[in-house]
Symmetry: C2
Subunit: 458 residues, 2 copies
């Protein structure tokens, strides 16, 4: 048998060719006309898992697109790793902005260009090729492995929670590993160990029972838009703090070493402001930008609407006005409790004559694997080995709903080790994936499985 | 010759039949497909003016619909009255809500039902029939008369200001009389002597140079919606006063007798609140509802928009947010000055990191004929004579841009004596006009011209 490095070098073109085959399936999960393509993509991946050496390969059916399950469980006494990813992709419009056709993968400038290259077919395939390489060079894997590759991530993982719940025993494992996040910077290994949760709220303010003429009634009756801007403006103080009573009550304190690691990561505040075309960043006082984004809860108004919005002017006092809000939550905040706090506060400060309601549209809990957990620290070591620079530990401002579901059902630590970059154009024309990250990602994963086998208890 | 009362009674059916002919023209000024109908309606009215005895009848052309001019100038030494009205009407959709076809006028329940019946063909025709009745019973008119009946009132009187400016000598008169307003209550003669002006503003707030993900950036960058609600909420204090520095600086004090007359008019605050489905009215403290509506300036937000407005949630921080504002102005406020005051204030209180602009979309000056002017007081007398109850003196919360133009070009007092009612459904399905107001309006106008001839100086 070849050694790992020789195998990887000798089989690089074959492995890239196979990735390009995977990328040719237009597996756009949101479009009904691509339903067959999504299924064919899943069948290709199932067949490919079998050909590598996975067993019990099956497409678990859902009312939408199927979930691929496969396993390799011949490492008795060793831990079991569950790898999650997705084979579905985003739509491709506007098509005219693509320099190469989205489903005709092209290699140029050190990148593979195709829809799904970085989100998430490329990273998923890096996992497949890491397992293949280990099996081909050693005849076995250092850990037990289960795969969970879904086809509905781009449409909100509609059916995956139910599939995981129904098949909890099948998916049981010691650690969850996901490669669907981005690296902190190009060339910078990044292990993500926490995501914020979400409470998505709808605020409705009601006044008169119909729209009225602002010339005839203006100045004499409550205006729901006035009420809305009044209560929304009272959600933050001038220091950027959320003023809702109880909002910060459940927030866990971040350990000092963790906070220091975070503060040490330069975010380039000035660069960020410049790239966004704003004069300065702004946020909760007393915290650095990364703390504001990763470990502090936030409340953002995402949309506001009411009354006339066309060109010119219309002399109307509308009967209602609305806003969309999302709160990002950190451990131990609960979406339901946040909705109740915001609702109580807005009711309390609402001016007379209007009715205010606050609905919870969507919620997910924050997710956190303890910073010092061996699964986190070993991922960093493997990453460093492959990239030649120490890994950084990150959290993410956004939310990945499925992480909460895995946590709830399987109760296992999760490691987010991505190989994509922020400027890889996922969800946009000319998506691409760096060959460097394909190559180094492959090695990082092989090292990680070996590290885990030695340290993590089954 | 018959006397006036006998003539009116004997010719009632003929006069109503002629009004119904006028109402059959679908003179919808905003719809290109009705362009010919609008012209035919104007031609009918011109021909009708000639048949009554008017001279110099002409349709003054505009880039849109023509303005009807006609005069009768055979009362030497007597004042000249200019009567303004409009022969165009609003669209009729939703058509399915009409109980009778909008352009097939029907008499039922003491009303004429048709589009334009009360706004403004009915009141315009009451003027025509009053002149006809006086000419037929006395052989002449007690005053000199000029008519200005336009075809673009429902589309903002686009070309009338230019027509009036170009033909200032033709339209020169001693008093302007308009019947395009409503009575204070059914059966209640109402002379309106003032209208508020308008400053229509657009507020734009700009943040980053593009929309960004609120999970990735939320809490760390300025959110234009936050800035917008913050600055808009600072436009009023808790007492309903406008906080913009200088906003009230130019406001004229209302004379005590005028204010008393106003306060004595019950507005039925509770009924008004009940009919609007709100728990209480709300406005500037220290003023009654009618004062708030007629003699105090106001600032109302008519629309607000920014970010996501669809169903569900979208995790976005938009790059911009907007609001529409109208300020109602009272004598001596100026639209341009108000725009400057609001703009300066919003710039001053804007939070860091956003750019705020305030544009003047539209403006009109307030209009006021002195309360004690004989043209006002004589209109009240004639009205009382016809209706059998004393007239009330009102002002209006709304604005009629063309009143400002007449004032600016002709420098004459204006009297607004309407015969329509607030519930006549103008601009809505099943528009109607009360026969009682057709009959009494006719008489009130005949009496008014006689009164004016005796008192007002030419």
């Amino acid at each position: 048998m070849e050694d790992l490095e020789t195998y990887l070098q000798n089989h690089r073109q074959q492995q890239l060719d196979e990735l390009m085959t995977f990328l040719r399936y237009p597996s756009i999960s949101t479009l009904p006309e691509n339903e067959k393509d999504v299924l064919q993509c899943a069948e290709f991946l199932a067949q490919h898992a079998r050909s590598i050496g996975f067993e019990h390969v099956q497409l678990l059916p859902t009312p939408g697109h199927p979930v691929l399950y496969a396993d390799w469980l011949h490492a008795p006494g060793k831990p079991t790793v569950l790898v999650y990813g997705h084979y579905d992709v985003q739509p491709v419009d506007p098509l005219e902005l693509w320099k190469t056709p989205p489903f005709a993968p092209t290699i140029a400038d050190g990148q593979i260009w195709a829809r799904g290259a970085s989100d998430d077919k490329g990273p998923v395939f890096v996992h497949f090729k890491a397992f293949e390489s280990l099996l081909q060079t050693t005849g076995s894997l250092p850990v037990n492995v289960k795969l969970c590759i879904e086809g509905e991530e781009e449409i909100g993982s509609r059916h995956l929670p139910e599939v995981v719940e129904k098949n909890a025993a099948l998916f049981a494992a010691d650690v969850l590993v996901v490669s669907d996040t981005t690296m902190f910077q190009p060339g910078q290994p990044s292990v993500c160990y926490g995501l914020r949760g979400l409470a998505a709220l709808q605020v409705n303010v009601f006044g008169a029972n119909g729209d009225v003429h602002s010339g005839l009634y203006g100045g004499a009756i409550p205006n729901p838009i006035h009420a809305l801007v009044s209560i929304l403006s009272a959600l933050h103080d001038e220091q950027g703090r959320v003023t809702v009573p109880g909002f910060y009550g459940d927030v866990e304190t971040v350990a000092e070493d963790e906070r220091k690691a975070m503060v040490s990561l330069s975010t380039g505040d000035e660069e960020m402001a410049k790239s966004l075309g704003i004069s300065a960043l702004f946020g909760e006082s007393g915290y650095s930008t990364l703390e504001r984004l990763w470990v502090r809860p936030t409340l953002e108004i995402n949309g506001i609407y009411g009354g006339f919005q066309g060109a010119g002017t219309k002399t109307v006092i509308p009967s209602e006005a609305h806003a969309k809000i999302t709160c990002r939550l950190v451990p131990n905040q609960e979406p339901q409790k946040i909705q109740q706090s915001v609702s109580a506060w807005l009711q309390q400060i609402a001016p007379p004559g209007v009715r205010v309601e606050v609905q919870l549209l969507d919620g997910s809990k924050p997710f956190l694997t303890p910073f010092h957990h061996p699964a986190i620290q070993l991922a960093a070591k493997a990453y460093e080995h492959a990239y030649g620079v120490p890994a950084v530990f990150t959290r993410m401002g956004g939310s990945i709903g499925i992480m909460e579901d895995f946590d709830r059902v399987l109760h296992i630590p999760s490691v987010l080790m991505g190989f994509s970059l922020d400027n890889d154009n996922f969800h946009a024309p000319n998506e691409h994936f760096a060959l460097e990250n394909f190559d180094k990602g492959l090695r990082a994963l092989c090292y990680y499985w070996n590290n885990l086998a030695d340290v993590l208890q089954a």
